[in-house]
């Protein structure tokens, strides 16, 4: 077809998995491909620490496969505060600033994570404002959910 180039390209299984993440749900296939070029893949074994509470954050993590446990030290005791499934993301405060991590992230089972480095995100904001605003809006939605859950007294959403 003459106008076939106007059709959106088919998403690879990898891009499909990225599209399933709330952070990238609104991105077009081309935008997803651009973001995918910036992501790092990491594989963690069950019980391996991804980051520690209080550690300086430089990146946001997305669960591609497996599960991740988020735990926090409260009064000297470690409390599990969330269990994340594929499609979820964590470490989101690192995209906003270099603040210390608010909790520890640990692989609950063997898992594959996609890592979005803060400097890459900021560079993307400069060179491709549309992707930057879409990702920022997704982050804002996430924070809004967290605030609403806090007001309702049931914080099921975690911001790290």
């Amino acid at each position: 077809m003459v106008f076939s180039f106007l059709k959106a390209p088919a998403l690879s299984p990898r891009l499909h998995r990225l599209k399933n993440s709330a952070l990238f749900a609104t991105l077009t296939p081309l935008e997803l491909k651009i973001v995918d070029g910036l992501l790092h893949e990491r594989v963690y074994l069950a019980d391996e620490i991804i980051f520690d509470e209080g550690e300086e954050g430089h990146a946001i993590y997305m669960v591609v496969s497996g599960h991740v446990t988020i735990s926090r030290t409260v009064d000297g005791k470690i409390e599990s505060v969330a269990s994340l499934v594929p499609g979820a993301f964590f470490g989101d405060l690192a995209l906003i600033d270099n603040s210390p991590r608010g909790a520890q992230a640990r692989a609950a089972d063997n898992c594959e994570l996609a890592v979005f480095f803060r400097a890459d995100f900021l560079a993307l904001m400069n060179t491709d404002a549309v992707i930057g605003y879409k990702v920022s809006l997704a982050l804002a939605h996430h924070f809004a959910q967290y605030v609403r859950a806090r007001y309702a007294g049931q914080p099921q959403v975690e911001v790290l």
């Binding site: 651009i34 790092h40 391996e48 430089h58 990146a59 890592v115 060179t127």
Partner: protein, 374 residues
Amino acid sequence: MNPRDQRAGPVVWTCIIAATCVLLVLLEKMLFLAVPFLLAIILYYALVGPTQRMIRSGVSRNSSALTIVGLFFAIIALAGYLAVSSSKSIPNGTLQNVLGHYMDGGIAFVSNTALALETNFPLLHQMRLNDLVNARYAAYSENFAQRHLADILLSIAAGVPSALLAPFLAFFFLRDGTRFGRFLARAVPNAFFEKTLYLMHEVDLTARRYFQGLIKLTALDTIVLAFGLWSIGVSSPIVLGLISALLAWVPYVGSICGCMMVVMVASTDAPNDPLVAYGAIIVFVLVRLLDDFVFMPLTVGRSLRIHPLITVLMIFIGGAVAGITGLMLVVPLLGIVMVVGETLGRLITNPRLRARHRNAIALRTRQASADLLL
């Protein structure tokens, strides 16, 4: 707290300076590779912005890099052609004739200046300053071809093919730079991964700030020097300004060569009016002062955050250790080694990260040997 805010101690700094000196010695030994790499890195940082914009507009990485590098060299070739064809004072003939023409102009200027000094200062007349200058020049130029020309031509012949590597290297840096960064990051253990990403980003940022600062500094120097030379009536001011600004990349030596070139052209343009050549020297010195005290702190100076005393000392050490290459490379190299040294120092001395790495190794070993009798 930002990791860069935690400054390194004297031991780390000693290691940083020692590592910089070792790298300079190695670079000098591999000059045939160091020069094209340096040119390619400068090209990379000049062209990385437009290339990334093309990639993000949907063009493939390969086509973007090829188009931008091709366009850049087409513009350079066109600008070079226009500059040469628009120069009125360049005589027709071979390169040797052109060089000879300007050399004669420069020698006549020196000779006239010596004569003028003899006229005004009887002591210099008694010393026969002009005869002394002419004799020295004759002694130097008499056997110049036998003593130096072969070496110069050989080094140019050896340098040209390697310099031609620069556009190819720049193309591959632009096309595969990001992928290479991700490839390197894959080799890093999980425990150190985030900090290493930060380290790589800081190294890139330091090099980017330095080389982009250098490009801005070159543009500023070219514009100001060209304006100054144009205002006193020297021909081809933009070409002279650009060549002088490029020569200034080599600290001290480059500026002296640039000044000599400008004076030779100015004295050839106006052989009967030495004021033009004196004016060119004054303009050149003023531009160097502006460069050192205004432009440099605004561009390159801000990029590395190294104490000025250390920078000056390292320039001397670089020159002593690796000659012209050392002078050129010591500052950016020190900046990069400083970032790597400071961050590696913090990574290696962090007991929690090392414990997490040991834990990850133990987990991998346990998983790999789960169904084995050991």
